[in-house]
């Protein structure tokens, strides 16, 4: 059921381009005008040297001596052509930049958004650094190609067409010779494209590895220092840098081979044309002047062909980037939002039912077996069990971070898979053990729970949770910057913020997964009291190994090896002498020391 993000989409070059352009419709917008202007630019690029050559031949070296009048007229003509060409080139450039930047921005946004739409398991199958590169440097590769390569490619094709037309005018036979020389090149280029494409795909992957390795040295800075493993980390980074370097050079060598074959063919074509042309001219089918003029045109023809082979290499680089972005966008979101089709549940007390729920992680053994559980509205439930018993999995199924492999989870009698995400997330909020904080102020982090909340709302939430004393001890109160990932705060403080954030979101069901594990006992007890007082009317489910939570709950659910083995109020279970009684005894012993 669960998938991983495709390292790279398996589409061929043309399909990738087609899909890429579909994903960035802006690339197509106004393309007709741009191509028209590009055609003018191309015509100018061919016409100007042609006029110059004609001027030289007829104006300066004419049979009747130099003709200043003709030269002046031609020069003025060329001048106009130069200005028009430059103006068109400018317009083409700007239009292309606008269209491509707009198109690639939407591609970035699409990829970014989809990354968040993917299921948690799919997200966890990918390194963060690699996820980042898919919406940053991979897209940059595409923009480089579209803006510089793309236009040159279009202009080159235009120039090839114009040069062919002019060549035909001089000598159809020699034109055929030129084209015949280039046909084998087309096959060679096709072959090289595959090779070069593969090489660039490897480069893109190495960039992902490189970012992952570097990010360890940044995110793991404290651990690296505490263990003095700078050298080892350096070695690991160096390996990634080296792999990237080798892959890049490999791609470069392959693309040079492809490019040089184009250049070689271009040069040899010139030689062949000269040979065939000489035969033709000596047989009287061609004048020497026409042969020389034709040679000039061959240059106008081969130059864009060479450029095009070069650009095709860059195209492979861009396609490699494109494939990685498309790989994200085309990865199905297997825990999908039913969207418009889905149901919107009214706010209010909430019931939760597990019906014959089993779950196995992809490729793993079943970790939950046939769970039936119903949780009444307004109740406070504690789920306890040993590490690995499956209690966190329950929480993830309940908040639809994952879907069960068998059975179903119902909220107010509706299968979670049919509930619209916006409705579900409003009603059910999970507070995980390591609640990520953003590099922003405390206020902004708490407000993440309810974006419209005012300062007073935030302060009230913290006060209601009994955290005002803690707040006043912070250097700048609500304006305190929490640092990257909240690292200016301690782990316990981060949990306080995460809890306040969820509390402010005001869901009907609050799921706490070890949400206070790093908080000191007296603060935890205070929080629990606050939540209790305020959760009246709200359902709460807490997963905890500090059993003080269980003691306070209306009902305790004991999970053991993927099954619910006991359930009931604390004071009943503790007398039963079962799994819970044992867990509690060990907990109580710790408290007494």
């Amino acid at each position: 059921m669960s998938s991983t993000i495709d390292a790279t989409s398996r589409l061929g070059t043309l399909d990738t381009l087609r899909r890429g352009v579909d994903l960035s419709p802006e690339l197509r917008r106004g393309l007709g005008v741009t191509l028209g202007l590009a055609a003018l630019t191309t015509a100018g690029r061919v016409v100007v040297p042609f006029v110059v050559q004609q001027t030289t031949d007829h104006g300066l070296l004419g049979k009747n001596g130099p003709d200043p009048g003709l030269v002046t007229r031609d020069v003025l003509l060329a001048l106009v052509a130069v200005v028009i060409t430059a103006a068109c080139a400018y317009a083409v450039n700007v239009r292309l930049f606008r269209a491509s930047e707009a198109g690639l921005a939407s591609l970035r946004l699409r990829g970014f958004r989809h990354m968040h739409d993917l299921s948690m398991l799919t997200q966890n199958s990918e390194r963060r650094g690699s996820m980042v590169s898919r919406v940053t440097s991979d897209v940059d590769t595409i923009s480089q190609f579209v803006q510089f390569g793309g236009i040159i490619l279009i202009l080159s094709l235009g120039q090839i067409a114009v040069a062919t037309a002019l060549m035909l005018f001089y000598s159809p036979l020699l034109t055929a010779v030129v084209w015949l020389c280039f046909v084998p090149l087309l096959f060679v280029i096709r072959r090289f494209q595959t090779i070069v494409g593969r090489a660039y795909t490897t480069v893109r992957e190495r960039v992902g590895d490189l970012l992952a390795a570097v990010s360890e040295s940044v995110v793991g800075a404290a651990t690296i220092r505490a263990y003095g493993v700078e050298e080892r980390t350096a070695t690991r980074i160096d390996e990634a840098i080296e792999a990237h370097r080798v892959a890049s050079i490999g791609a470069q060598v392959r693309s040079v081979a492809a490019f040089s074959s184009g250049q070689l063919v271009a040069g040899l074509t010139l030689a062949v044309v000269l040979v065939v042309g000489t035969v033709q001219a000596s047989a009287g089918h061609l004048t020497l002047g026409k042969l020389l003029a034709f040679l000039f045109l061959v240059n106008l023809f081969t130059q864009p062909v060479q450029q095009a082979t070069e650009i095709l290499n860059e195209l492979q680089n861009a396609v490699a980037g494109w494939r990685r972005v498309i790989g994200v966008v085309d990865t199905p979101a297997d825990v999908a939002d039913p969207g418009e089709e889905g149901e919107v549940l009214p706010r209010g007390p909430i019931t939760v039912d597990f019906e014959g729920v089993s779950f196995a992680y992809p490729g793993g053994e079943e970790v939950l077996h046939d769970i039936d559980l119903s949780i009444a509205p307004r109740s406070r439930v504690a789920i306890v069990g040993e590490t690995g018993s499956g209690k966190s999995t329950l929480a993830k199924l309940l908040t639809r971070l994952m879907d069960p492999t068998r059975g179903r989870v119902l909220v107010d009698g509706v299968d979670l898979r049919r509930v619209r995400f916006s409705s579900l997330r409003e009603r059910v909020v999970l507070v995980p053990q390591e609640g990520f904080l953003f590099d922003a102020t405390l206020r902004e982090n708490v407000r993440f729970g309810r974006p419209g909340a005012t300062d007073d709302d935030v302060r009230l939430a913290l006060t209601e949770l009994g955290l005002d004393a803690w707040l006043s001890g912070l250097p700048q109160g609500l304006a305190t910057e929490v640092g990257q990932r909240g690292e200016s705060l301690s782990a316990g403080e981060r949990q306080l913020v995460a809890l306040a954030r969820a509390y402010l979101a005001d869901p009907d069901l609050l799921v706490l997964d070890e949400a206070t594990s790093a908080v000191d006992p007296s603060t935890e007890v205070r929080l629990q009291r606050a939540l209790e007082g305020l959760t009246r009317g709200r359902t709460s489910i807490a997963i905890a190994h500090r059993l003080s939570t269980a003691e306070a709950a209306d009902e305790v659910v004991v999970v053991d090896r993927g099954r619910i083995v006991e359930r009931g109020p604390h004071r009943v279970l503790v007398r039963q002498g079962g799994v819970y009684a044992a867990l509690h005894a060990s907990w109580a012993a710790q408290q007494r020391g």
Binding site: D74, H116, Q123, T136, T223, R245, L474, Q591
Partner: protein, 608 residues
Amino acid sequence: MSVDVAPSLRRSLGIVAVGIRREPRWFAFAVAGSTVYGVMTVLTAWAIGKVTREQVQPAVAAGHVSAHQLRVIFAWVAGVVLVNVVGVVIRRIAAGFTMYNVAATFRREVTRQYLRLPLSWHHRHPSGQLLSNANADVEATWNVFAPLPMALGVLIMLVAGIVQMVLVDPVMALIGLAVFPALFLANVVFQRSMSPKVSRAQQLRAEVSEVAHESFEAALIVKSMGREDEEARRFEEVTRRLQAANVAVGRTRGTFDPVIEAIPTLGTLAVLAVGARQVASGALQPAAVVQVAYLISVLAFPVRALGWVLGELPRTVVGWDRVDAVLQARGELPYGSAKLQRHGASDSRLEDVDYSYDIVDEDGVESRFQAIHGVSLEVPAGATVALVGPTGSGKSTLTNLTLRLVDPDHGTVSLDGVDLREVRRGGVSEVAALVPQQTFMFDDTVRGNIALGADFDDAQVWQALETAQATAFVRELPHGLDTRVGERGASLSGGQRQRLALARAVIRRPQVLVLDDATSAVDPSVEQAILAALRSSSDGTTVLVVAYRMSTITLADRIVYIEAGRVVDQGSHDELQERCPGYERLVTAYVREAAERAAMAADEEVTA
């Protein structure tokens, strides 16, 4: 960042020189290849002229061509082309080596800085930015090596061409040469207008990467709170700004390219116009004009190649500024030369320590916040001391100070009487180990994460895992010790990561073991087992433990109770419970709570 100072050409060339010095040999190869290419490009025209004069013309005149003549024609042209292609291959491959080698060198240097600079520096720099420095900025700096050798190689063409022009006719040459100041001027204008724009785009590129990085790291929270739309908006905001910045860059570049291309053509046209008059007045031979006009068009190409380099330079400067900011960053912890002795247990001491850190308010104004006030903390060799205090009271900061992850503003931190500032680099971690509250796992195997490259055999690893109560779950992993744990240990649970982190510490048989609430994510029974195993295996080790649980606290010989960065009291558990109300409240919270609840429940039962 020097956005408003338009970096001069000299400065950018200085940066290029820095790169060349790193790979002089490959660069020389590339320039040599390019020279061959330049010479051969000129020779192609010459060869065609030669065979036309010597073979084609006579053949056409004779109305007959021999096979020998055809062979000569083909051999000359094909020969020159072949050598030319060889030149190109050498130039491009060598340029690739230069570019990627230099980039790799600087990536190593930049990441070496990441490892060298202190934690406080890391806290001030967003990780997204640091990733961007090591990747995109290095790339932006050295991309110039792709067009550079070509531009230098064809300089030969440029010089040869100019000399020829002057030899043909100084006056005509002057008109032709007017092209170069024009190009130079265009370039100066371009650089000035381009640099701030490129700088802004590069900065925004880093910001896009920062937002993406943070947002993806927060993926679980975003999902579980249904904030995907808000995150998408946040990303869109910075993406749109990057888009606008890139379009601005494009507009400038889009102006520059056609201008650069038009200038040599304009030169050619000027030469033709003026030349035609000169010829008409008899002052000049037509052939001279043609030759000068031809030379300008030949030179247009190397000039364009130079243009590519010049167009790349603003990016080079901006990229380098960002890379160099990392390379020049100071504030390294200075190290001494003392070596800590290995023996059974160390004595750890903090004396009258103050510690503050930089804080930035919402307006970006920096100030200092004192987190630790005059703390003295003594952990005698072999003793176990528990650090107890409310959330946010400074316990983790004290553990960091103990192992010199940070230096105090005032006071001294020592091990075995040696001030940690005098200990050589890496010396502290040889004798002391920290298990932090939040564990960090490398994307490596279980074994790799525990040994961290040190030489431990399997038996030792298993023994450490045993102490950390991790043997059972590691055995069940698909490849045991060789199972890869994923990025940041993603495939493991929080409790499993904590136990591996613990094994990582105990395997080193540290003389000082600092546990910062290191078992918060494991079950009580497992924690009990861990503590028991630690006690038996770490005989004699000095232990400083941050703890909340009574079971842990009571293992300690002495308890230090802190609040708001100050030591409030210290002594045995009984003493503190007697005389320290804050401590008493904290450690008995659960018991009191349980008692109250039991009482309440009893009341309810009675009333019911």
